[in-house]
């Protein structure tokens, strides 16, 4: 019985990591790549850790370590993703050309990188860049490669 549960959980974990790595190659732009990788790898590693905890039910130290790793993984992974995505946006990494809308464009103060929450207030402060009317959405596929 336990073997079946272990098999199912670790298969799902391995598949989600596999899809994440395929997605890393196939996704059209940086943000989508980041988006796919962070979650799927968290889920996959988390499932493996749960498997390890189920595998050794008598050994408390394995379970506590698994729970601690899972806890820190869940806390730190989104923070890392947030920092990487923010840096990418500020340094001007283009979005995919079929991106529907970019509400973040023009909201940063150009010099201090202070972020506004009200679009009108931000528009007063920064004049829109005439070279990029669509925000950071790329014109062609070449830019995002």
């Amino acid at each position: 019985m336990i073997n079946i549960i272990l098999g199912i959980l670790s298969t799902i974990g391995a598949l989600s990591i596999l899809f994440a790595s395929i997605g890393l190659i196939r996704m059209p732009d940086f943000y989508l790549r980041l988006s796919v990788t962070v979650k799927a790898s968290t889920l996959g590693v988390g499932l493996f850790l749960i498997c390890a905890a189920i595998m050794f039910p008598d050994d408390i130290s394995v379970t506590t370590k698994a729970i601690a790793i899972l806890f820190f993984l869940i806390i730190t992974a989104p923070v890392a993703a947030h920092m990487i995505a923010r840096t990418a946006y500020i340094t001007g990494t283009p979005l995919w050309r079929e991106t529907v809308i970019d509400e973040l464009h023009g909201m940063y103060n150009q010099e201090t990188h202070e972020l506004k929450s009200d679009p009108e207030e931000a528009a007063e402060e920064n004049e829109q860049d005439p070279n990029m009317p669509n925000g950071q959405i790329a014109d062609s596929d070449e830019k995002t490669e």
Binding site: S35, L43, I60, I75, H82, G135
Partner: protein, 158 residues
């Protein structure tokens, strides 16, 4: 609230000590037993928040796991099929969460749901900027997020 939680822990430790086997299933059983005992003992007490909040936290976690599995399947399907179905976009999400803790927990949960990724929090803590993978209409997306994750989270945290 914290008093009840500590009493619950104490009861489960007593249960573990009495039964004499320190395994996780036994500890969790002790927690459940302690919760039940405390619930019966404090039916006439004024402060009942602990007993409402614990089931809500558990149901929130189950809801979150369910959402995560659903969204992961969708992304996996998209990765494997040759055609792209994404309509990505960056959306402004007006926050009703006020304190740092609430914003932190909310953004962690949004980032861990596949298909959505926090880009940044505005300086005055009034808006989140979210990168969404499947965006049909920004307003419906913001509304569904408000009614789903944020409402449930506020119920737990407040």
């Amino acid at each position: 609230m914290i008093k009840y939680f500590l009493m619950n822990l104490l009861l489960s430790f007593i249960w573990v000590a009495l039964t004499g086997s320190l395994s996780y299933s036994n500890f969790i059983f002790g927690l459940l037993l302690g919760f039940f005992v405390l619930w019966i003992m404090s039916r006439n007490e004024y402060d009942q928040r602990y007993f409402y909040r614990v089931p809500k936290i558990i149901s929130f976690l189950l809801y979150f796991i369910w959402e995560m599995i659903k969204a992961n399947l969708q992304v996996a399907y998209d990765v494997m099929t040759p055609k792209y179905f994404f309509r990505p976009g960056v959306v402004l999400f007006p926050l009703s969460a006020k304190t740092d803790l609430e914003i932190n927990v909310l953004s962690t949960f949004i980032s861990l749901t596949p298909g959505t990724l926090i880009l940044d929090v505005s300086e005055d803590k009034k808006a989140l900027y979210i990168h969404v993978m499947y965006l049909n209409d920004p307003e419906t997306f913001v509304n569904s997020l408000k009614m789903g994750v944020e409402r449930r989270l506020m119920e737990v945290l407040r």
